[in-house]
């Protein structure tokens, strides 16, 4: 077993896939110097500048050229630095990458991974902090991954690189340093398979990405009060594990969805609606969504803290359902 950070897990996944498959390559700004967070540190030394490629600050070209490189038989992994910057390449992702396989009648696929570090981190304010995962779930053709642990980052990034379709891969910046003991040989993960973080009988809390930590902390607090909470980490948002969520809520009769993103139009609404459609008659309390208010993310820490969904808020939501 090796103590591995979330960031190192991503690096290890990419390196192992690049050793396995010579058509895998990575491109993005500053990759030759290890990437903006160090996720690519040391990789150019092993793989050379053609396969760990620097790029101009041209997000549309980074993503658009990856579409062409994928259609022409390679597997590019593109780095967007911050999820927010990927908005400079929306056409390339939404109109090109996501559509090519379908609109060309299955003649070719677009096996590319778009790494989009997401979320609030060190007072990064409105243009470097967003959680836009719901946008991508809305687009047919895209797979959306948001790992919460080093092990999932390792296994799901491998799966993303092996996928024959475009994957939006959202690592949370606040998780880079968290650690986990991982095996020497970790196989690719499975899309659409949730992880039960903690078993429980009184309520179900569904979350993903960094919010899973808060959900688990809330469950810990509630356990001390004698409330048994089941915590589910979705891991991938498209496809997502409806079966696991529905089975859990069938058991508990209560659902809280916790997300860092703006709650309005967020993925939590999809989870809540799905559960309501399937279990309306057997719910013991109204479904509750937790998320950010619909405001840009402020810089000042006290203000930023006000829009965070913390363990206290999650625990309070569960208590209100009992």
């Amino acid at each position: 077993m090796v103590t591995t950070t979330y960031m190192e897990a991503g690096r290890r996944a990419l390196a192992e896939e690049m050793r396995r498959d010579p058509t895998v390559w990575a491109v993005g700004e500053d990759l030759g110097r290890g990437g903006v967070f160090g996720q690519y540190a040391g990789m150019v030394e092993e793989f050379g500048p053609l396969r760990i490629s620097d790029a101009p600050i041209s997000e549309a070209a980074i993503l658009g050229s990856a579409v062409g490189a994928a259609l022409a038989g390679t597997r590019p992994v593109v780095e967007m630095r911050f999820a927010d910057f990927a908005l400079c390449a929306v056409d390339e992702l939404v109109n090109q990458a996501a559509k090519a396989r379908y609109m060309f009648g299955g003649q070719g696929g677009v096996p590319l991974v778009v790494r989009e570090p997401m979320g609030m981190w060190r007072s990064s304010a409105a243009q470097h902090s967003q959680s836009l995962e719901a946008w991508y779930v809305h687009i047919p053709g895209l797979t959306v991954v948001a790992p919460a642990t080093p092990g999932d980052n390792l296994r799901l990034l491998k799966a993303a690189i092996r996928s024959d379709d475009p994957v939006v891969y959202m690592e949370h910046k606040d998780l880079w340093g968290i650690e986990e003991e991982l095996g020497e040989d970790e196989p690719p993960g499975e899309f659409g398979s949730a992880r039960t973080v903690r078993d429980g009988n009184d309520a179900t809390v569904v979350s993903w990405s960094a919010m899973v930590r808060n959900a688990a902390a809330a469950a810990e607090m509630l356990a001390e009060e004698g409330v048994s909470v089941e915590v589910i980490d979705l891991r991938t948002l498209w496809p997502w594990d409806r079966g696991a969520v529905l089975a859990s809520v069938q058991k508990t009769g209560r659902l809280v969805v916790a997300q860092e993103a703006v709650s309005v139009g967020g993925f939590g609404a999809e989870v809540a609606a799905t559960v309501s459609e399937a279990h309306f008659g057997s719910l013991k309390a109204p479904v509750k969504r937790l998320g950010a208010p619909r405001i840009p993310i402020p810089y000042a820490k006290p203000l930023e803290d006000m829009l965070r969904v913390g363990p206290d808020a999650i625990a309070a939501a569960v208590r209100a359902q009992l």
């Binding site: 396969r51 062409g68 090109q96 009648g105 047919p140 496809p239």
Partner: protein, 334 residues
């Protein structure tokens, strides 16, 4: 305008004349089918621009890759796609190049290296640069040809994609097929500076400007630039100046141009020009009219076949979205 040319090859020009007629006849047949309701969505004819398709795409090798535009029927035909499959695609029928799921603006035929038309102006530039990136990574000896219109030079991907091709020294030929109109607006009124070639040169990409209605000239320069790319010369740029003789779409009457101007431009029709040269060098008139008749017959047959073709099967609706996830989920219950 064309004048005597030292390397005039009558047989080759006659073949190019024949192929331009195929494109013209395909599009005229498609426009007629649109009026009948058989072509379902918008089509963008390239009538008057056939010399660019035959000159540029016709000078590529089978293994070269091509990225085209919403006005790409001619490019696609010249790359080797079947006219029947293309007509079926325009009709939204089974057996179309994309199984009836793309239509005119998304035609692709990967089997002949045609990696797609594009409904978004300029979006194919970055894709082409990336395909060239793959060619270089895999060490293949072929080029990528990217054709776009004059409107595309005002989009961001023009800057990003050309710069990308230059800094990575990629084997890509950019062809700006300048038909003078960006949708229904004159491009010159909306374009700063001296134009596409100067912009390419500013990014370090050698550029050539040619008469885009002279099929031999377009072919000659394309061949030369292709060789230069294969010899390691990096990206090259061709600015082929032509003129769109009909509207932006097949239903656009193009009332924003006066009849006199259009009439004048018809005198420069690339097919007529090739015919004039051939006739002046003794090629029989019936040979030339035979090209036209054969093309019309071929496309009429394609029309008949497409008209008789089945619609796509229902299951095609859910096919080829992506490998994972059920696309029916959360839409409605079955």
């Amino acid at each position: 305008m064309s004048g005597p040319r030292p390397n005039l090859d009558l047989e080759r020009l006659a073949d190019r004349h024949r192929r331009m007629h195929r494109i013209r006849a395909f599009e005229e047949q498609a426009v007629a089918a649109l009026e009948e309701g058989l072509v379902l969505g918008a089509i963008h004819p390239s009538i008057g621009q056939e010399a660019c398709a035959v000159g540029a795409v016709g000078s590529l090798a089978r293994e070269d890759l091509l990225l085209s535009t919403h006005r790409g029927h001619g490019h696609t035909l010249e790359k080797g796609a079947s006219a029947v499959a293309m007509m079926r695609e325009l009709f939204g029928r089974e057996g179309g190049n994309c199984g009836g799921k793309g239509g005119s603006m998304h035609i692709a035929d990967f089997s002949v290296g045609m990696l797609g038309a594009n409904g978004v102006v300029g979006a194919n530039i970055n894709i082409a640069a990336g395909a060239a990136h793959a060619v270089r990574l895999k060490g293949e000896r072929r080029i990528v040809c990217c054709i776009f219109g004059d409107g595309a030079v005002n989009r961001g991907p023009f800057l990003e994609g050309l710069n990308w091709a230059r800094v990575f020294d990629l084997p890509v030929l950019f062809v700006c097929e300048d038909n003078a109109f960006a949708a229904t607006t004159r491009t010159e009124a909306m374009t700063g500076g001296p134009g596409p070639a100067a912009r390419a040169e500013a990014l370090g990409i050698p550029a050539r400007a040619v008469d885009g209605n002279d099929v031999d000239v377009v072919a000659e320069v394309t061949t030369e630039l292709r060789e230069r790319i294969l010899d390691g010369g990096g990206p090259q740029f061709l600015w082929a100046k032509t003129w769109r003789l009909t509207g932006h779409t097949a239903v656009d009457k193009a009332a924003y141009r006066d009849a006199g101007e259009v009439e004048e431009r018809w005198k420069d029709d690339p097919i007529a020009r090739a015919a004039d040269t051939l006739r002046a060098h003794g090629v029989a008139g019936e040979t030339l009219s035979g090209h036209r008749e054969a093309a019309v017959q071929e496309m009429r047959a394609a029309y008949e076949e497409a008209k008789a073709a089945d619609w796509p099967e229902d299951r095609a609706l859910y096919a080829d979205v992506q490998d994972v996830g059920d696309p029916r989920e959360a839409a409605f219950r079955w």
